[in-house]
Point group: C2
Chain length 337, copies 2
Amino acid sequence: MTSIDDVAQASGVSIATVSRALRGLPNVSEPTRQRIRGIADQLGYVASSNASGLATGRTLTMGVVAPSVSRWFYTTVIEGIDSVLRHANYDMILYNLASRGGDRERVFHRSILRKRTDALIALCLDFTADERDQLLSIGHPMIMIGGPVRGIRHIGIDERGVARSATEYLIGLGHRHIAHLGGDDDEGLNRQVPLERRRGFLDALRDAGIESHDDWMLTGRFSLTASRDVVNELLDRPGPRPTAIFANSDEMAIGAMLAALDHGLSIPGDLSIMGIDNHDLSESFGLTTMAQDPFEQGALGARILLDDLNGGPLKRKTSVRAPAQLLERTSTAPPRS
Amino acid sequence: MTSIDDVAQASGVSIATVSRALRGLPNVSEPTRQRIRGIADQLGYVASSNASGLATGRTLTMGVVAPSVSRWFYTTVIEGIDSVLRHANYDMILYNLASRGGDRERVFHRSILRKRTDALIALCLDFTADERDQLLSIGHPMIMIGGPVRGIRHIGIDERGVARSATEYLIGLGHRHIAHLGGDDDEGLNRQVPLERRRGFLDALRDAGIESHDDWMLTGRFSLTASRDVVNELLDRPGPRPTAIFANSDEMAIGAMLAALDHGLSIPGDLSIMGIDNHDLSESFGLTTMAQDPFEQGALGARILLDDLNGGPLKRKTSVRAPAQLLERTSTAPPRS
DNA sequence: GTGAAAGCGCTAACAT
DNA sequence: ATGTTAGCGCTTTCAC
């Protein structure tokens, strides 16, 4: 493996000069720099990150802790982070907590603390107090994306407000019989998120003077198939049906749409359905939703951390509220008289 | 940041002993080891990966190059890799080629070659000859998962054979009018894969003496929505319709199912549909498929690389064929007389 | 503008 | 069983 010495010898200068030249530092004459660059390229030289990391204390790596890598929200955030990191020449170490048999403890105690990363992005998970302290004790810049955790700044939509707006939209259309598709995620989603959204839903109902209906508070576990099942079960019940369903995510909403189809119901004729996210599939399903942009949230998180690391003037110490807005499509309409 | 010196001083031994004790090497008395362990824990000491990497030449990191992180196949493979790596105390650096604006070149020229990883797993992408040479020139153990690339060993199902089996199954049910939902992936999927599957499809047709139907060779880009659109377009056409569709992936097959629903067709009554994968959603849709197990493929890939790194006796120099088998569900049946 | 040399925090060979 | 010491490949003063 070609080292800085090889380049130095080949160019007849000292390794110090090679180092300066290649990193674009001042005090290297332009001709020398060109020559060294050429030789380095030719030799296929790349600095060892271990060595330079040791010397500088920087790893040029960012850690990303995700509860799962198989949900649209997380993968989209990851892609956003990735796009920013690559341009900054940073690499990303992915800590996937949810993979089958993945023992969280190891991640927190060994890997992350392994001084491998300069900063940390955590995607919307539920930390134990101990885990949180572990993370904070590293002293690295850190930010959460998604659900809020006490003591850690975060980027995310106004969960409660967004759920409320969605519900108000349905109420505005004339719906009085609205079911809620919520519930925790198996995979470690921050429990604040479904809770807050549920609160927003209930806020809207209460303000409109509508009584909530315990039987219609469904649990879809943020999963399409689970939601399809539970909504099918709802539609099987005797007695009055809701005229609308508000789901905590588009994946769940789509599950609900499929259940409606399973029952031969028409959307939005027999049942209005809406979600939160603006998932890739939502347009194809004509799903009305409260759109958010996880890609941008991830990108912003990465940018903030990079700013922190570079001591830039833009340090944000506080959480930032990500935008979300109503996207009307064809899955919602006034209820049939 | 507490270093090995701190631990040594606190325990009244030399750094060498600390190093040995913490790594479980022989020649440390058990009492001493316990004591050192305790003190290290108490101080929150973790070895710097840069320093130990420099000294050993090992990074304890594996690189994973993925064309995208937002498709079921890739994320599932990644989770498989991850589960093995975590148990081996390896970390994973993710190189996502497809993220919007992600310029491949940077990945290949800088990051990966940055001597940051001990080995490399590439997920089913299309390399240019130059890229491939770049990768091979690092001299690291390397393996591909998914599509084959000349000169690199890989793990993957028998693409052509699986497609042929699927088609033969449909033919066995009595279908003579079968459409194929294939086509390249936008996101850099290895182009061999759709090609081989298409060949397998045509093989089966030919052997059964069925003429292929150019108009029924559809392009679904491995995407659910694209497939839904293109199948809807197919079903809009005047003239005879196919009685069955074989899709290159379950996501595409589900798109086709939705298109059938859009047209009020019943499955499998009016149209049989099958795919490849056994996607998470497939069971819920009752989709017949050629099931494969990407999680296991990823795990196996990681294991092979770890074996290589440890000079284990299990070195596999050759590619390995991953299993796939027919999973009959309710989306397929004999055609209506 | 360039070079020499002292670390960065470990590991491993060699002493003891 | 434990300690000493020479690197690993860079970056960064400090000289020149």
